[in-house]
Symmetry: C2
Subunit: 406 residues, 2 copies
């Protein structure tokens, strides 16, 4: 997880060394290949500003570490000796993403190119169950996915677990609070069957934002990713990097006060966004009580034209817009992304959101199109979890062990 703004820790920073220079240049090569598709050594030199001999040396090392492979050269058609195409290895290092949701478990393995290669998803009512039991099942799902990945030649180099809860900025991977699961101070490492495969937990909204960032293209974008369903979380991505806050609590959008004297919230305050746009509040306002998946239920009723449902969604959209107006005025993002389960309700939620934002973001340029629905929807968090490992490897390939040459 590459993150900005962590309280520096040691204070004294390591000096710039030749190894550090090498590390950065290795990363520049993997980064260029990741960003611009298959590239010859000369192309890489052009993109990075390094010389061809330097690139050759770096590429040798990266092939040795399993990060890159030489693929069949595409018929370029240009004059001169044809280059040998370099691509990210699709039969080497990989990332495992796991997800614990309120009603499901999921796993996903992506290769270095970022391509998902293995999928697993099972429905499970996880709310209120003992954390150890849920984690054991997640571990089993992950082990199952890893064995399938091994058959594809993939070697899992990192494991990240998406949870719908708060993960403080502290070593050791603690989930401080996951209200929708009923978790308090759960440390996945304490319940994981195999110490060798313990995943690092991370908030699902943050991981969804990472996935969106990757899908999106512009790697230096600044945006706010809203992950709305039972709880409403947001992730801040600043210049392409996740910002977790001083202690890891950034993005608690659900408890922004939207109507200061409004409905009381279990958190102790009044008029929090969750009281207007949270799943429970919307269902109540729509007069529905949920058998089955509440979001698809809402989508069906809205499509059928049910007045109470439409009213509830409009109110939720306006409340979201109001809260996000605060976010935009404070943070000045390039855009906003509506993710999580609510992405499926974007048809109904976006118009009131956009109207509210247009009315309240007036002291800076703003277009309604800056708010967009996520392209990944509910799969965002697992994908982000798997991708975060891949991203780390591309940003620092020296994490990979040098393979013993056969």
């Amino acid at each position: 997880m590459t993150v900005i703004g962590r309280a520096g820790g040691s204070g004294e920073t390591a000096p710039a060394s030749q190894q550090g220079m090498r590390r950065k240049n290795l990363a520049a090569v993997t980064g260029a290949v990741a960003a611009h598709g298959p590239l010859s050594r000369a192309d890489v030199a052009g993109h990075t500003g390094l010389t061809r001999p330097a690139v050759s040396s770096l590429v040798d090392e990266l092939i040795g570490r399993g990060a890159l492979t030489e693929t069949a050269a595409p018929p370029s058609g240009r004059v001169g000796r044809p280059g040998r195409a370099l691509a990210l290895n699709d039969r080497g290092p990989a990332g495992l993403g796991l997800e614990i949701g309120v009603t499901h478990l999921a796993a996903c393995i992506v290769d270095l190119r970022g391509e998902p290669r293995v999928w697993r998803r099972v429905e499970r009512a996880n709310a209120g169950r003992p954390a150890g039991q849920v984690l054991a099942e997640a571990a089993a799902l992950g082990a199952d996915a890893e064995s399938e990945a091994a058959a594809l030649g993939l070697r899992v180099e990192g494991r990240v677990l998406a949870v719908p809860g708060v993960v403080p900025n502290a070593p050791g991977g603690l989930v401080a609070n996951a209200p929708n699961l009923g978790w308090q101070a759960v440390r996945p490492a304490d319940h994981w069957p195999d110490p060798a495969t313990v995943p690092e937990p991370e908030n699902e909204a943050n991981l969804g934002a990472l996935a969106e960032l990757r899908q999106q293209g512009d790697p230096a974008e600044t945006f706010v990713h809203v992950s709305a369903e039972a709880g409403i979380g947001a992730a801040l991505v600043i210049g392409g990097q996740l910002f977790r806050g001083a202690r890891g609590f950034a993005g608690e959008l659900g408890h922004l006060p939207v109507h200061p004297e409004g409905a009381p919230c279990p958190c102790g305050a009044r008029g929090c966004l969750e009281q207007y746009a949270g799943e429970a509040a919307v269902l109540r306002e729509a007069g529905l009580s949920g058998a089955g998946d509440p979001v698809t239920l809402l989508a069906e009723r809205a499509a059928a034209g049910d007045a109470a449902t439409l009213r509830a969604l409009d109110r939720a959209g306006r409340a979201l817009g109001l809260a996000l107006a605060s976010a935009v005025n404070l943070v000045d993002p390039d855009g906003l992304v509506l993710g999580g389960a609510y992405a499926e309700l974007a048809d109904r939620l976006l118009p009131p959101m956009r109207a509210e934002l247009a009315a309240r973001v007036t002291v800076r340029p703003w277009t309604p199109e800056a708010v967009r629905p996520s392209a990944l929807g509910r799969r965002g968090p697992v994908l982000g979890a798997a991708w975060s490992t891949v991203q780390q490897i591309i940003a620092d390939p020296t994490r990979l062990p040098v393979r013993p040459q056969r």
Copy 2:
């Protein structure tokens, strides 16, 4: 101005070179001396992780560039050969800070140690005057300060102008909008008499935050600095670096909606914070109309126990607390700083602010003490403007020209 989150610009980044390594290590040396006072070469080696020979070579270059000087060695009392003390040069490079306020102009020059050496301040009613006229007077004040600095052996290496307005993230130094001055799209460079001394404009709240950061001590702090008076701005400092937003509009706290259906605001929205905590709103609520400085007037009436004034300040404090609750839930800062002119009203404003924050920040640890008044008050912006140049030099001493050796 060191800033995070700018849209990367070129996209392709320069490769890590040996010159880059050298630059980083030069900065590590100046940084260590700046942070830990006078240090011997061996001490610097200990702090940076560099070897003593490397430090010797770096120090030679830094002395040649005028960044460091060898001072009289303090009698250490320890066994062994005494070290020669290195300190930031107080007779060399310097930074000029200029400020255009609604009722004054100010200038300040600080040496590399960050010590203010020259002060200038004149009262001027700048609101509504032609920008060219105001800028010409500011330039004269700056030139006057620079000539005094020259007599002290100081060489101004950078100039920054604090303005109460929005400065977009764009080259060329444009002040897009400064409502309290009546400025629209003013480019200081177009009105500056001497092209050699054109300053870079920057928002005063951001500069105030920089000054606070420097004064504070922890160079990696994440905090929100509120600069409240006529307009209400905020600056976000993330991990010790200023965050200006995707386009430079971050921190528009004054237009956070605090009472969604409340009083209409000139910005077009309803219930913006400025309608409850802005200078004009507070004066109106207190039944005062301003001859003289409104903030000292408010302080006097509050000290005298005037009921309407106390009520107005309480309402303003609560509104500030409400808006900042959104900021805390979103950004998760270490703390909040009340700066600008309102720092002088902290006695009255802090209690309702803290109460509101305590009530609305419940899903993460929070203590009332995390809100503190600025130590610098109204001098923050000029100091920050002057310091920002010094900070840049310390972060990259190769900006300094190598002096011809005599």
